[in-house]
Subunit: 226 residues, 2 copies
Amino acid sequence: MPPRRAHPAPSPRTRVRRLPERGRYDRAAIDDVLDAALVAHLGFVSDGQPFVIPTLHARVGDEVYVHGSSASRALRALAEGIPACLTVTLLDGIVFARSVFEHSLNYRSVVVLGQATPVDDREEKLAALEAFTEKLLPGRWAETRPPTARELKATGVLRLPLDEASAKIRDGGPEDGDTPDAELDVWAGHLPLAVTALEPVPDTGLRPGIAVPPALRPYRRPGLVA
Amino acid sequence: MPPRRAHPAPSPRTRVRRLPERGRYDRAAIDDVLDAALVAHLGFVSDGQPFVIPTLHARVGDEVYVHGSSASRALRALAEGIPACLTVTLLDGIVFARSVFEHSLNYRSVVVLGQATPVDDREEKLAALEAFTEKLLPGRWAETRPPTARELKATGVLRLPLDEASAKIRDGGPEDGDTPDAELDVWAGHLPLAVTALEPVPDTGLRPGIAVPPALRPYRRPGLVA
């Protein structure tokens, strides 16, 4: 049998160098993490200063989209075609080892590198907005008022291809169970964390007689909300 | 009475420009968000490419610390004193409006800009490692094996001052309750999300008779784990 190899990385820039056994480069793993998360962190450089802003994202096929006000600093900077990094992280738990050194977090993360480019095509823009809306609640796009021409103009949408992406995943317990530290009188293990949805809160201005969408009660999102 | 003013921002770079009423610049608000979150996203630039990596962080007084392998690409790049951005985001819920356009997320976020510098002083490094460990579980520093000289050397710690930071907070329901959209036959409101801790999972190699730390059952973290 040949020795087990690390997965091939799509580029040296996305190869997981620290703890390479945690790296995943298959699109199924990358898509799972991207699709589960509601918040991404988008990095870009302006005047030599890196900025990292939280934003809703949505994947459609081989592209990941972000959006915001057309007037925002971030969107204007990115729309010029500068390099961007979109990172998504889901916190899954806390790892308690016998030593300070081996403490860790369990997480699933994805890093996407590339050029963000503005979406000008009306159909593609609407498809991206539909993806954002459906991501928040399946079926929501059909039941809400669609964007007006003015709203569409006020919304900037950017596209980032998934050509250069990697996932990094840590799960399970601590790694000191077979070291001399295992003899210490210290509890070791991990604490899983889960996101749950509470009861939906109706808007104070909600007209009487409008029912809560069935998908909100209970609300589930695979990989994020249990 | 003078008109209500926006909070003064510490720098033009951290001033919240989009939806400025969500901006907060007081240290109490900034510290609350930083201290609640277990994961930060650290942005830096290498060869013109921004990178955003998830990392554990801990605040000690007026500094926020991050750490990692001394050999990591990120830590080596940052330790040269390049500009960095540390962003923390807590997802608090989903906002459902009558229109696609007004959908949103509820969140608390903090952005810190500055130069990350390596911590060389042994006492400061130990204090930062204690802060990381105590952040995961109060009391954990005293009950676990302290770092060896070799482990200390293998761990890089970086310091980022809180001189240039801002918080951005959105909460509550949608903002279309007093617009013509309120007449639409669409449910509107918000769905609070909460992080909860599941049962601690003992390490498979755990020696018999070692009790779970009381602080793990139940596990609570103010502002993060309910």
